[in-house]
């Protein structure tokens, strides 16, 4: 079963004590883990069988995402497989998609997609010329291939393309990103990615972050409840104090919301109506941002002093959950988007609906 094998992989390869070692590797993640994820087929999960993938769907991606979130994995799964991979699989020409995905699925090529960019594409002989900039490109610090939005399209750009400058950096909470500048970067027509695929990629990325948040918040809560039961002060476990019991109950309510958000996002992957997907994704990301921030803050609080030590895993969940809330559009931006899309309830009388 996928869930069992992923959970086993994470618990065997990624105990928290090893995480700092993995982060210290040259690419900022564990090469062995990345290889193992490819060997297990995880990196081929969401891509159609005709592209050499496993053709699995939203629920399977959610299972992987939860494990990644729970284990605080550093490997570029979100950026390469989910974001860039989805865009290429769904938006590049078939032959091109298969060719590019082959190396992405083996893990040989790490790819990254920009969701925050101002790039113009001017038509030139045989392709386009790209000029502009992109910021906070997730996984961009290690990527060999970029998928960039320009005008009403996406474009695949090699990291070594003339005119492309990449400034990579680490992110709080794990992983890395890059800022890009493009000056006269030329790509051929075959590098085109359909704009709908760029949208699907972001939606898939948000769904994955929701799953990460579901896994991470649940893990943070479990650790915290364990701590409340074992930590003694004034001659009794601190969990015997009602204020802390109530805080834990409030956390559980929010953790259940995070799980539901991840499930809803998984279901949205099969939703045909793009407007419904857009609304749903905005709601998912808004809730994950709010829940993640609350759970991060309160689980640190309930750990007392050790909650703010680098050594304790809870401070790492704090940082990753905070980051998740802010990546691919924070809560405020998502709520604005949801409001602009009209929300879920129309003002019309309910009985007037068919």
């Amino acid at each position: 079963m996928l869930k069992d094998s992923v959970e086993r992989l994470v618990s065997e390869r990624y105990p928290f004590e090893k995480r700092a070692e993995h982060a210290a590797e040259p690419r900022g993640f564990s090469e062995a883990m990345w290889e193992e994820m490819a060997e297990l087929g995880l990196t081929a999960l969401p891509f159609g069988e005709q592209l050499g993938g496993l053709g699995l769907g939203g629920v399977e991606m959610m299972i992987v995402g939860e494990a990644v979130g729970r284990g605080l994995l550093l490997e570029p799964y979100l950026s390469s497989i989910v974001l860039a991979g989805t865009a290429i699989a769904q938006g590049a020409e078939d032959g091109e998609a298969a060719a590019r995905l082959s190396a992405i699925m083996t893990g040989e090529t790490v790819a990254a997609l920009a969701d925050h960019a101002t790039i113009t594409a001017s038509v030139v002989d045989g392709g386009v010329r790209l000029d502009g900039a992109a910021t906070m490109v997730l996984g961009g610090d290690q990527a060999a291939l970029f998928v960039l939005p320009a005008g009403n399209s996406g474009w695949m750009v090699s990291a070594d393309a003339p005119g492309l400058r990449v400034r990579g950096y680490r992110l709080h909470g794990g992983g890395g990103a890059a800022d890009l500048t493009l000056e006269g970067v030329r790509v051929g027509a075959e590098a085109h990615v359909a704009v709908q695929a760029m949208t699907r990629a972001i939606e898939a990325g948000i769904a994955f972050l929701a799953a990460e948040a579901a896994g991470a918040t649940r893990a943070a809560l479990d650790l915290t409840v364990g701590y409340l039961k074992t930590r003694e002060q004034f001659g009794k476990p601190i969990g015997s104090n009602q204020a802390l019991q109530h805080r834990a109950a409030e956390l559980l309510v929010e953790v259940e919301q995070a799980s539901s958000a991840a499930i809803y996002a998984a279901l949205l992957a099969e939703e045909y109506d793009p407007a419904e997907r857009a609304r749903g994704t905005a709601a998912v990301k808004a809730v994950i941002g709010k829940v993640g921030r609350f759970v991060a803050q309160q689980t640190v609080q309930l750990h007392g002093g050790i909650g703010v030590s680098e050594e304790h895993i809870i401070s790492h969940y704090f940082r990753r959950l905070t980051a998740i809330g802010m990546l691919l559009g924070g809560t405020d931006a998502q709520l604005k988007r949801l409001a602009d899309l009209g929300g879920f309830t129309r003002p019309r009388a309910h009985l007037d609906l068919a």
Binding site: V59, V225, L228, K229, G239, S240, Q242, L244, Q245, H246, A248, A249, E250, L252, V253, E256, Q257, S259, S260, A261, I263, Y264, L267, G280, A282, A283, V284, A286, V287, K290, Q334, L335, K336, L338, A339, G343, F344, T345, R346, P347, R348, A349, H350, L351, L353, A354
Partner: protein, 386 residues
């Protein structure tokens, strides 16, 4: 896990909506839309319309006359009522005493009461709370002593919702003050409110309405055959009754109606729409939690412990929506307007109920198990704390 409704369930939803559209009295509907309280007659008429359709008792087993809804159908049915908006089946009758009589009553009691309860031939009140017995219900002091062929009941009950409409009251009384544990000396009695010795006094709540009452019982004689379950075993009956709220507890549909009203009032105000989106986002996700619980419940009759999670978040969002509606209405909502003022003209949103309803909705986090008690239960039963 597939949380999507089937084609049959979607068809059922449309059937329920059409039924409401065709059978709910327009005046009653208008009152519900405006947030006013329907009259006793209006509530009874609607329940009887549902009863003719076989839908008055959605949660009752088929043997008791229920429609045999699946968990999903029960949820859909209540959700359509909440969104219409239409009155729910009378909670005291359908949600509380009916299932109790079916589970614990004698065949004579079932015959005497069940059908009459479904049809509101008998309107029931809930005689649980007292001055010293709110969250701590087992602290109740109303006594009942056996005298010949009757119990003689003395005491004082508080917060009886709609007791002034009621014909009968189901009550918790202390039959054994000397029992080693307080819960062990409690009995469940059915009391005819026309009995001598009963006085019902109105309590006006902060919304200016008279919905709840206090009930004084002064040497009230209650026939022995009005005991439900064994003497001194009333606490088990109580636990059963209190656990009975399963689907529909989040009343998500009611919150949707409030959001609808917010959008009608403030649809062009960006800040207001952003706040509405915040509630809608969490509500959408809560619906998924509701569906997950329904999915887990299929075929099972045991209440899901995660129901507390649903109630906590559901109440939070409903109160938030009610507060947002107040903000959307602005200071004009502060003008005191009686519930019996004539309806406004066509499209105008009725403001008169917004402040009273916002105020009385503060009770949603208090009655039926306060949010604080719910949190303690969640911590204990779901997290093993305390």
């Amino acid at each position: 896990m597939d949380l999507r409704f089937t084609a049959e369930e979607e068809a059922f939803r449309r059937e329920v909506r059409a039924f409401i559209r065709d059978n709910l009295d327009p005046v009653t509907h208008r009152k519900m839309v405006d947030g006013r309280v329907p009259t006793k007659d209006e509530i009874v008429a609607w329940q009887r319309a549902l009863n003719r359709r076989g839908w008055a008792t959605p949660s009752w087993p088929k043997e008791a006359g229920g429609p045999g809804f699946s968990a999903a159908e029960r949820y859909i049915f209540l959700d359509e009522l909440h969104q219409a908006p239409a009155p729910e089946p009378l909670s005291f009758n359908v949600g509380m005493i009916g299932p109790v009589i079916h589970a614990f009553g004698t065949s004579a009691q079932k015959e005497r009461f069940l059908a009459a309860t479904a049809n509101i031939d008998i309107w029931w009140a809930q005689g649980f709370s007292e001055q010293s017995a709110g969250s701590d219900l087992a602290a109740l002091r109303t006594t009942a002593r056996r005298e010949g062929d009757a119990y003689v009941v003395d005491g004082h009950k508080l917060w009886q919702g709609m007791a002034h409409h009621a014909d009968w009251m189901f009550t918790l009384v202390r039959t054994d003050p000397g029992a080693p544990k307080r819960q062990m000396g409690i009995s469940f009695l059915l009391i005819d409110l026309r009995s001598p010795g009963i006085t019902i006094r109105p309590i006006v709540t902060l919304d200016g309405r008279h919905e709840v009452n206090e009930v004084f019982l002064d040497e009230v004689r209650v026939p022995l055959d009005c005991l439900v379950g064994a003497e001194n075993a009333g606490w088990d009956v109580t636990k059963f009754l209190l656990s009975n709220e399963r689907t529909g507890i989040a009343r998500i549909g009611m919150t949707k109606h409030l959001i609808r009203r917010v959008k009608r009032l403030a649809g062009t105000d960006e800040a207001m729409m952003r706040k509405a989106a915040a509630i809608e986002a969490e509500l959408k996700i809560l619906e998924i939690t509701q569906l997950r619980i329904l999915d887990a419940q299929q075929g099972s009759n045991t209440p899901d412990p995660r129901s507390s999670v649903l109630k906590l978040k559901g109440v939070e969002l409903r109160q938030a929506a009610s507060e947002l509606l107040l903000e959307a209405a602005g200071p004009k909502a502060l003008e005191v307007v009686g519930d019996d003022e004539p309806f406004g003209s066509g499209d105008d949103e009725w403001l008169g109920t917004i402040m009273p309803n916002y105020a009385i909705l503060r009770a949603a986090s208090i009655y039926g198990g306060s949010s604080e008690v719910q949190k303690t239960i969640v911590a204990k039963t779901l997290l093993g704390l305390g």
